[in-house]
């Protein structure tokens, strides 16, 4: 399977591990990730505003690039995935935004949300299959108790993201089982880490992140995995639990597949 791949800015510097191990693992799994040429920032949080169309254009360009190649658009960063998926939904559902964006873009064929945006975890679940993944694991992480941290961006709004049950998700737990480890279910796995509040109200971000990590630790976790660079930042910097390492899920995937 060949995908158009949108890494996003953070994966090119701070979160390069998330990107690197995803690429290495994909090779083993027979997945080709073709990075979109000259991609631009997804737009961060700005495309989520309903009133302005211009901030959405960067995302629309990535979506159109995938459409032109006839490929699904693969994402890794939770925030990029969230933004691309929601902009795509706007292009499909909101006539006003679609018209304005297409007026800006001046495409030969107007874009109307045709591209399918797929998160790496969804690809593992739906295309590779967790059973197949399990079969390819060479270093099973036997006995390791791993807490999956979902955060907000992958799950909500659930009608648009369609990722998993937002209140009781299981895709990351199934992933953990597939790489041979033991998932830890804890109540705060789908709560917010504090997000960008880390800039404005550090105390609040500390409170949110530490609640997550403490809850994971109390329930017996030995490490935490995430798919989001911002969650990673908050958990590490504001989480306040030093003896609980946080990894990108792709790092453990690469380890299990023997390509780390």
């Amino acid at each position: 399977m060949v995908y158009s791949y949108f890494p996003g800015c953070t994966l090119k510097n701070k979160a390069s591990d998330l990107d690197l191990y995803a690429r290495k693992s994909a090779e083993v799994l027979g997945i080709t990730m073709e990075e979109i040429e000259e991609w631009q920032c997804c737009g961060g949080v700005y495309p989520l505003g309903a009133n302005e169309t211009a901030p959405k254009l960067a995302s629309v360009r990535a979506l159109v690039a995938a459409k032109e190649k006839g490929q699904d658009l693969l994402t890794l960063c939770s925030a990029c995935h969230h933004v691309l998926k929601r902009v795509n939904n706007d292009m499909a559902e909101n006539e006003n935004i679609r018209t304005k964006a297409n007026n800006y873009m001046q495409l030969e064929v107007p874009y109307a949300g045709e591209t399918k945006v797929v998160h790496y975890l969804e690809m593992l679940r739906d295309v590779v299959g967790f059973d197949q993944l399990k079969a390819k694991v060479v270093n099973p992480l036997k006995g390791t108790k791993i807490a999956a941290y979902y955060g907000c961006l992958l799950l909500r709004p659930s009608k648009v993201l369609g990722f998993d049950n937002p209140e009781n998700p299981k895709i990351m737990e199934d992933f953990i089982k597939a790489i041979g480890a033991e998932p830890v279910i804890y109540p705060y796995r789908n709560e917010c880490c504090g997000g960008y509040m880390a800039m404005e109200n550090k105390e609040l971000a500390k409170k949110k992140s530490s609640t997550v990590l403490q809850s994971a630790k109390e329930n017996g976790a030995e490490c935490v995995i995430t798919a989001c660079p911002l969650c990673m930042y908050n958990l590490k910097v504001n989480g306040g639990v030093d003896d609980l390492p946080v990894y990108y899920f792709t790092e453990l995937l690469a380890q299990a597949l023997g390509v780390k």
Binding site: N165, N168, I185, P187, S215, E218
Partner: protein, 662 residues
């Protein structure tokens, strides 16, 4: 040529505000055959009806067209009006210019044009109308009540009181329904069992009432006054007439780990069981999914200990056919499944319970003997959080869009009882709105807040997280604009209610209509609230919409009154708009017989003369007018056009279409 009168109603401003009624009357006066045309403010009022009657006499009208509301609303009214003036009732046509015109359009010019067109169609039809005379059919003096909760019980008692036979069909082993599970009732706090169980005994002792417990209605045929129902008496493996209800078998049964439905699965029962001590009928039932004897033939303890010899492992389902004049639906409700509400940790912690489970935990006959204990560790809870509107008023698609109506009051009751019995508890109630209309209801809620010190907080709970045996309740206080984190021992969810899962199949069986939430629809939301639009089907209790006990009982009695009104009649006037087969065109193909839902069509061989002075035998259809309900399915199915519906003939319908397309 007919002499037609046209009467255009304003319906106050309902029609007149959007339709120029004067113009409609003027335009329709120009139609061929129309000899009189007028408009009036309220055509259905006494003076309006008088106006119609005078016009019929004065202008020797042979047909009338009323341009007004839907025929479902007032067709019967205007038919009576015409009959009183000596005009055949079936020479009246209604043009619906309210629901199908004025209410749905804004532009007066266009709406007026449409009203004229609808009037023209009705005039075209009335030209072809012929006087019809209704026949009569007998009424079976027996009623069927589906469901044996408080609604079914009250309806049955009232019908029996008037001297008619009633059968209650209840799918559970006992009657009593949800009310039997409830601890105390608001706003008087009297014990539910103390007011319900005497009624259950009354039902059991009433000679006119027969209870089919552990039974289901399998099929229903026929029509108002003459239904035939097949009742499936499920095998309970205990002879009902022999069992004395002593309960010895339930003590000795070795299968003791079957979840107890009556206690909302909070404890266990045995495989042979009597749901509760006051069950009616007080007869044991064997659960075939749990009984070792029925599953693999090893055990037989109950049969050995039963001194009455009531156990019969070979019992089979039994089918009983019975005739009824009327059917009352009283199928009740259930609480919704909480699969879509994982944020409240219902599936993760046994200390998160639904309100119905809480009733059992507070009930003296419940699993804890009436002492409030946490299900997880049987300790006394000190902090309780009640969450209202769990799945009610939910437009996200996870729950139900409607208000379940009863939760505000029972939550106030629970909170008050907690504080009264256990003054050391802190009780919080999270609400969107507190809705307590009803006699003495708001006073009751105020008492919970002011006298009992229950903390009412406007806001929703976002998350319940189990932590170290406690429940961390994360919520918002909208009035204080504050985020709260409460360390609770128990969380009680006021779970939305929905119609019983059997409701849809029963509605299909009875051809009774339902709304999008599977509540039964009433014939008119204000004026005929206890009747289904299907003749002879009546509605009692929550199957029609959320209700508390007093409302349910009122509706149950109202439904009974309607049933009694039907059953006292010896004969019912039939609908004369029935199908008729033109034997000369019929080729005997049986297409109509196959689609007829009432079994009204039969075939016979008849002798016909041919053009060659010989005769031939041909198989032709004939319709039994007493059984035909005029649904028209056969007229559509007939390939040769031999079937026609009186009052709605193909010619009449085509004339209407032509008039609209003119």
């Amino acid at each position: 040529m007919q002499r037609i009168g046209v009467f255009v109603c304003w319906c106050g401003s309902n029609i007149a505000a959007t339709v120029d009624v004067q113009q409609v009357a003027d335009e329709l006066a120009k139609e061929p055959g129309v000899v009189y045309s007028t408009n009036y403010q309220y055509m259905c009022s006494q003076s309006g009806q008088q106006m119609i009657q005078e016009a019929i006499k004065e202008h020797h009208l042979t047909g009338i067209v009323i341009c007004s509301c839907s025929p479902r609303m007032h067709e019967a009214t205007f038919r009576k009006t015409a009959a009183a003036a000596g005009l055949n009732s079936y020479m009246v046509e209604i043009a619906n210019i309210r629901e199908q015109c004025s209410w749905i359009h804004k532009n007066k010019e266009e709406a007026t044009e449409k009203a004229i067109i609808l009037g023209r169609a009705a005039i075209a039809k009335v030209h072809l109308n012929a006087p019809l005379t209704a026949g009569e059919s007998p009424v079976v003096k027996r009623a069927l009540v589906i469901g044996g909760g408080i609604a079914g019980i009250q309806t049955a008692l009232d019908i029996a009181d008037a001297g008619f036979e009633v059968d209650i069909v209840e799918k559970k082993p006992t009657i009593g329904g949800k009310m039997a599970q409830i601890d105390k009732t608001f706003p008087t706090l009297d014990c539910a069992a103390c007011i319900l169980t005497p009624k259950m005994v009354d039902v059991a002792q009433n000679e006119k009432i027969h209870i089919y417990s552990y039974s289901e209605v399998e099929s229903v045929k026929g029509f108002v006054g003459n239904f035939t129902a097949t009742i499936k008496k499920k095998a309970r493996y205990v002879k009902e007439d022999v069992c004395t209800g002593c309960g010895l078998c339930t003590e000795k049964c070795p299968m003791k780990k079957v979840p107890n439905e009556f206690n909302q699965m909070l404890d266990n029962r045995t495989a042979i069981y009597i749901p509760f001590a006051q069950a009616v009928p007080k007869v044991a039932t064997i659960d075939p999914n749990a009984c070792m004897m029925l599953k693999n033939g090893k055990c037989g303890v109950c049969s050995k200990v039963c001194t009455a010899g009531a156990i019969d492992y070979t019992q089979k389902d039994e089918y009983i056919e019975q005739q009824y004049g009327a059917i009352v639906v009283a199928t009740g409700f259930n609480t919704i499944k909480l699969d879509n509400f994982d944020e409240f940790a219902y599936s993760q912690s046994p200390d998160v319970v639904t309100s119905l489970e809480f009733e059992r935990l507070m009930n003296a006959a419940g699993p804890t003997g009436g002492t409030l204990l946490r299900p997880s560790d049987h300790t006394h809870p000190h902090t309780l959080v009640f969450v209202q509107c769990v799945g009610s008023r939910d437009i996200s698609g996870c729950g139900k869009p409607y208000c379940s109506k009863i939760c505000c009051m029972y939550t106030a009751k629970h909170a008050m009882l907690c504080r009264e019995k256990y003054p050391d508890t802190e009780v919080y109630v999270f609400y969107i709105d507190v809705r307590t209309p009803g006699k003495n209801f708001d006073e009751f809620y105020r008492r919970a807040v002011e006298e009992y010190g229950v903390h009412y907080i406007k806001g929703m709970v976002g998350k319940v997280a189990p932590k170290d045996g406690k429940l961390m309740v994360q919520a918002s206080d909208l009035l204080a604009n504050d985020q709260l984190l409460i360390e609770a021992d128990m969380v009680v969810l006021a779970t939305a209610i929905e119609p019983d899962e059997s409701a849809r199949s029963i509605a299909t069986m009875l051809t009774a209509s339902m709304d999008t939430n599977d509540f039964f629809t009433e014939a008119h939301p204000k004026l005929r609230p206890v009747e289904s639009p299907t003749a002879g089907i009546f509605l009692s209790g929550v199957c029609q919409g959320p209700k508390d006990i007093p409302e349910t009982v009122s509706q149950a009695s109202a439904a009974a009154a309607k049933v009694i009104g039907l059953l006292v009649k010896d004969k019912l006037t039939c609908n004369p708009c029935v199908a008729e087969s033109n034997e000369l065109m019929c080729n005997g193909c049986s297409a109509c017989e196959k689609v007829c839902p009432y079994g009204a069509i039969t075939y016979s061989d008849k002798e016909f003369r041919t053009p060659y002075r010989t005769t031939i035998m041909r198989r032709v259809a004939s319709v039994n007018p007493a059984v035909c309900q005029g649904c028209g399915a056969c007229t559509v199915a007939c390939p040769s056009g031999a079937m026609d519906l009186k009052g709605f003939s193909t010619r009449q319908i085509m004339a209407e279409v032509d008039a609209i397309c003119k």
